[in-house]
Symmetry: C2
């Protein structure tokens, strides 16, 4: 059993955004090893169809299995929306996405039963947050809004910026008009805009970060299945990073998000899996 507990957790995303999820796993499960895959050749998934995202997700999972992961985290809202239910049936190891943990907590947090969701077009279009929340409590009203400019604004590094503030104001106006008291940051890049979003929505709206909730849920899941890594913590944890394109650019972004240097990014041909 120790051998399997020792195995890494596979985390994947369409690109760099999922690193915010990896970061929460590193913080909250410091004993775990991680293999991260970012599909930087085919990013973004947010504007692609269900079939395409499902096909890409299956390829990535086949790659992660070659790394003998003990569990998989889909650190991408779009892939969680489009692929999780399908690939879950095909796997004999635990797999979780970022949507359900975030949605579950939002249901607990809301008082007036009005939850806003901001995400990519594909995630909003999939209706996954709405469906999952309505399953938990049919009385909750879910108001979704696609925010396609947020990812490039984050990647420009304009995190606390007048342009970003103006764009956020426009995107969030209709959610605020509908009096939401809870807002799910339904795309992995968005937690990096947290302070600007906080300024726009004010103090009365609770911001839910699915990355954090996913790390917490992963911890519980590993415990339940006796998969927690019990190895002597003095031994160095291993974090491996793989991408499908431009390893150098990925490394730079990773360095700006993670609390340590990423020296081990390797590029692979994901289409071969």
């Amino acid at each position: 059993m120790t051998d399997r507990c020792n195995a890494p957790i596979g985390v994947f995303d369409s690109g760099v955004g999922g690193l915010t999820v990896a970061r929460e796993i590193m913080r909250n499960l410091p004993e775990e090893n991680i293999v991260y895959f970012g599909d930087t050749a085919r990013v973004p998934y947010g504007s692609k169809s269900r079939d395409t995202v499902l096909r890409y997700s299956r390829q990535i999972i086949r790659f992660l299995r070659t790394q003998e992961v003990k569990a998989i985290v889909i650190a991408c809202n779009t892939a969680s929306a489009y692929a999780l239910d399908e690939v879950e049936k095909e796997l004999d190891i635990p797999i979780i996405g970022v949507v359900k943990p975030g949605a579950r907590v939002a249901c607990e947090v809301t008082k007036n039963k009005k939850i806003g969701v901001i995400a990519t077009e594909a995630t909003i279009h999939s209706g996954i947050y709405t469906n999952f929340i309505k399953n938990q409590d049919p009385e909750i009203q879910v108001i979704g809004k696609a925010c396609p400019l947020f990812v490039p604004l984050v990647e420009e590094g304009w995190l606390k910026d007048s342009v970003t503030f103006e764009v956020a104001g426009r995107y969030l106006r209709e959610l605020m008009d509908q009096d939401i008291d809870t807002l799910i940051l339904g795309c992995t890049h968005y937690p990096l805009l947290r302070s600007t979003l906080r300024e726009v929505v004010g103090d009365k709206v609770s911001l839910v970060n699915p990355a954090y909730e996913t790390a917490r849920e992963l911890k519980e899941l590993l415990k339940e299945q006796n998969l927690t890594n019990l190895q002597d913590q003095k031994e160095a944890r291993k974090y491996m990073f793989y991408v499908s394109d431009l390893a150098e650019k990925f490394r730079k972004f990773a360095d700006s998000i993670l609390p340590f240097d990423v020296n081990t990014t390797k590029q692979i041909s994901i289409e071969e899996y």
Copy 2:
């Protein structure tokens, strides 16, 4: 010979942007048939590596050959930058990109020999505009600037908008500070921002639209090679549209750009070519 003249022109892009090039070909070569391919499953190319863009371009060219095209236009600045010189050697039909026609005209237009280029990260990073312009005239100074927010702003439809104006002002400030008198719109989406860009740079800077220059150069090229379509113009021209993903979304964008309805968009599996 008539048969070959009758054959369509293949036009390809990473997505919808190349439709601005197709539009100029339709306007300036109304006698020609067109097969357009938009690689909407793998868009954008602007953040991908040379190898990846070259591989994708070869696949698309193989697909276009199955449509028996008589000539190919790479309507994507990134693919023109990364793939044209390579694929040109491999082909027995004429192929042109959007970079050289735009750069050539900019060299003719500039008086103070200071040309600005705005484009995606990959196009700027490739240095292709700079290299080509310097080859024409080593005295010309070329100042490049990547503008990653422009494409999503266009796709949001915020063409004449205060946010777009502010973003354009920031992106163009350093080019204006260096006193450029000519600006190449080095990404196929950018001509749609023409009036906002005109407002930012004022009347003294000439805006060069490579889409228009490419259509003009294509016309010359077909004439030279006796490939102009001489078919009776009363017969309907044929415009075919293919994409690698989400045909419906493409159709919508195409309808907003082109002067007629696009009813014939088909989705194909480009990875099989």
